[in-house]
């Protein structure tokens, strides 16, 4: 999966996720705040490779 496709998928998942919440620290956002993506969600937790969703909505997406 290309990097852009992975990113697009996180947008799709976040847009359809009941738990999606924009990180409350602007400095921790990955993109501008208008982009709805798991990368900007406060429930994502960065790992050595990629990140995990602390609400278990996302299991196999990372960088």
């Amino acid at each position: 999966m290309t990097e852009q496709r992975k990113f697009d998928r996180t947008c799709y998942i976040a847009e359809n996720c009941a738990y999606y919440t924009l990180d409350n620290d602007e400095d921790e956002l990955y993109t501008d705040e208008s982009t709805i993506t798991c990368y900007n969600c406060r429930y994502r937790r960065w790992l050595q490779k990629g990140f995990e969703c602390m609400k278990n909505q996302l299991k196999d997406i990372g960088e």
Partner: protein, 254 residues
């Protein structure tokens, strides 16, 4: 006299982040007329399964200009603040050090914390050796490792991202480099390979950008704007947050 104050591991998934807490703490110290707060930097530490962290494993450090006589009072206020404001389940650590007490050994500890898993005891022993204040404020107290590391990394002048560097809050558009230096606390505009922009050059800041601490300067990283190549004026574009995050993660996995 300049002090560095660093806090780590103060949050949980539902609370405000450590960066915001550092901001509130600094303002509180200012309101009490204890000194003047400088800028906050965020320092990325090692992400590893053996290290508990909320979402990033980064510590937050700020400089604080004050008089030596305020030392004990500042430590007391910071400690009380972390005792009451840190989130449930967090493992907060606090480090307060005057600039003259920070040595290369502390810097090395900071860079080691980006590469290997360090122990709380290592942090305490080193802080004691250099007469630096280090304390834990709940949970396992493991945040002391990040707090001491953050002080070392900030002191090194070659690690970290500024959190809302003063004067950059409302920048959005195209600026002459010289004006940017006057309007904000940005001290250097340069490319990744070290080419420094001329003061008459233009910089495009229409993206969400971050200012980095590099070579002891608040540095804006830019790349050449190819659209301006036929123009008389050299124009640069700031890298966006997304690129800088990727860069940070690449460095971490080296």
């Amino acid at each position: 006299m300049d002090f560095l104050i660093c806090i780590d591991d103060t949050d949980n998934l539902e609370s405000i982040g450590t960066g915001k807490l550092a901001q509130i703490l600094g303002r509180k110290l200012e309101e009490l007329n204890l000194g003047i707060m400088g800028n906050i930097t965020r320092h990325q530490l090692l992400i590893h399964p053996d290290i508990p962290y909320t979402s990033h494993n980064s510590s937050m450090c700020f400089d604080f200009e004050t008089e030596r006589k305020n030392w004990d009072k500042i430590i007391q206020i910071c400690s009380d603040f972390l005792d009451t404001e840190s989130a449930q389940g967090s493992d907060p650590g606090l480090c307060v050090a005057s600039w003259d007490l920070i040595s290369e050994e502390i810097v090395d500890f900071g860079f080691a914390a980006k590469q290997i898993v360090l122990k709380k005891e290592d942090a305490y022993n080193l802080a004691k050796k250099h007469n630096i204040h280090l304390s834990e404020h709940g949970g396992t107290g493991l945040g002391v490792v990040g707090a001491l590391a953050g002080v070392g990394l900030r002191f090194s002048g070659k690690d970290g991202k500024f959190k809302s560097l003063k004067g950059t809050e409302n920048l959005d558009g195209i600026y002459i480099v010289k004006d940017l230096y006057e309007k904000s606390q940005i001290e250097c505009v340069r490319t990744l390979d070290g080419k420094v922009a001329d003061e008459d050059d233009e910089v495009d800041l229409t993206v969400a950008f971050k200012v980095m601490l590099m070579d002891k300067k608040a540095t804006l990283l830019v790349y050449a704007d190819e659209d301006s190549q036929n123009s008389n004026i050299t124009r640069w574009k700031a890298y966006d947050k997304k690129f800088l995050k990727k860069l940070e993660r690449q460095e971490q996995t080296k």
